[in-house]
């Protein structure tokens, strides 16, 4: 079920936040943080890093809040910024990671969830996908964005999003042993 269906009025909350409404700010953080955190966690698999990213994300939302136009969909705007935060962090830490021994981080890694009947360690399998495919799949399946919204958030065409999602599904299908 798309996330927007469960949280009506996030656009209205954002518009109120632009007008300095503290209740709207609180509601936005409460309602949107879990899915943004999930978006980061699924890509970093490191809780501390995902929380850092979440904090940075809200800082950017605060700085960029004037660029949201009431009446426009909020999710593409939000995820375009969320993506940017992750790209920036990746670039900054890339150099450091290349020279680090990462064993220290291992205990912090989120424990994979127990597989369910229709969910055979999907979260682990996502890690094997190329970054762009994983990102598209996360936006579609975790955050519940539509293909059009993912296209807007990632700045590519709808066709490109469909292609990435298709390739991701194919790759996961093969791993699940359901290859054609």
């Amino acid at each position: 079920m798309p996330v927007e269906d469960t949280m009506p009025g996030v656009e209205a909350l954002m518009a109120a936040y632009q007008q300095s409404d503290p209740d709207a700010a609180r509601a936005l953080v409460t309602q949107l943080s879990p899915q943004i955190f999930q978006f980061y966690l699924a890509q970093s698999r490191n809780r501390a890093e995902a929380e850092d990213l979440l904090q940075d994300f809200w800082l950017r939302i605060h700085k960029a809040r004037a660029t949201f136009r009431p009446g426009e969909p909020l999710m593409p705007w939000l995820y375009a910024i969320a993506r940017r935060v992750r790209v920036d962090r990746y670039r900054k830490t890339k150099g450091a990671r290349e020279h680090e021994i990462v064993t220290e981080q291992l205990p912090e890694r989120a424990a994979p969830e127990a597989p369910r009947r229709n969910e055979p360690k999907i979260s682990e399998m996502l890690q094997s996908l190329p970054e762009s495919q994983r990102e598209v799949l996360l936006m579609l399946k975790v955050s519940g964005l539509s293909i059009e919204e993912v296209a807007r958030a990632t700045g590519v065409s709808v066709g490109s999003v469909k292609q990435k999602a298709h390739r991701a599904y194919e790759s996961l299908r093969k791993r699940l042993g359901r290859g054609k």
Partner: protein, 224 residues
Amino acid sequence: MNDDLNISLSPGEPPDAELLKRITVQMESAPAVRPLPSNAILLTISLSLFAIISFALAAVVKFKAFAALSAGEMELYYGAIGLFALLFGRAVVERMIPGEKRQIRSFVPWIAAPAGLGLVMGTLFSDHSTVGFVSSGIPCLTTGVISALVSGVFGWRLLRCGYLVNPRETILLYGFFAGLVGIAVLALHCPIRNSLHFLVWHLGAMILAGIAGLLVGNYIENAD
């Protein structure tokens, strides 16, 4: 797209409650802001700035091109510049807003503008002589680059009203857009009807501005 995998991820662990509280405290104190106007208004402002800066700078170096061009030539020449200004303006404006639907791919304006303008000028001016090529070209290149720089500085404030999710791509386009101001100023000023002169010295100003945009964009991309 074959999505028959029934993929779904459970909500997972929520973020730390203390962290959310800290974020909320920071967000609650945000002063009110006025949302950016529509793309149509931003585009109108961009094109108005483009026209005002072009005419103001051309007035400084004198409008000498009017005497050298026929009405038809002016229509084609200035019409092409206006068309590409519209293309660059639209491309830059839609990159100022995160998650905005992109109707113009980033490479289209900076490939189409030099190619289109080169074609128009090659068609309009049949003179290809190279007499005084460098001596007449350097002042044009200098004027074009300075004009691009001035417009780049003036337009920067407008660009920074937005939030650039891809500074490298956006500022590259912005650099070319500023370079187009250089071409517009030269189109109003330079009376030389020589296609080679245009291709090297006028278009050269735009290419240099585009390269400057790429360098600034790269710098900002890495500094952010």
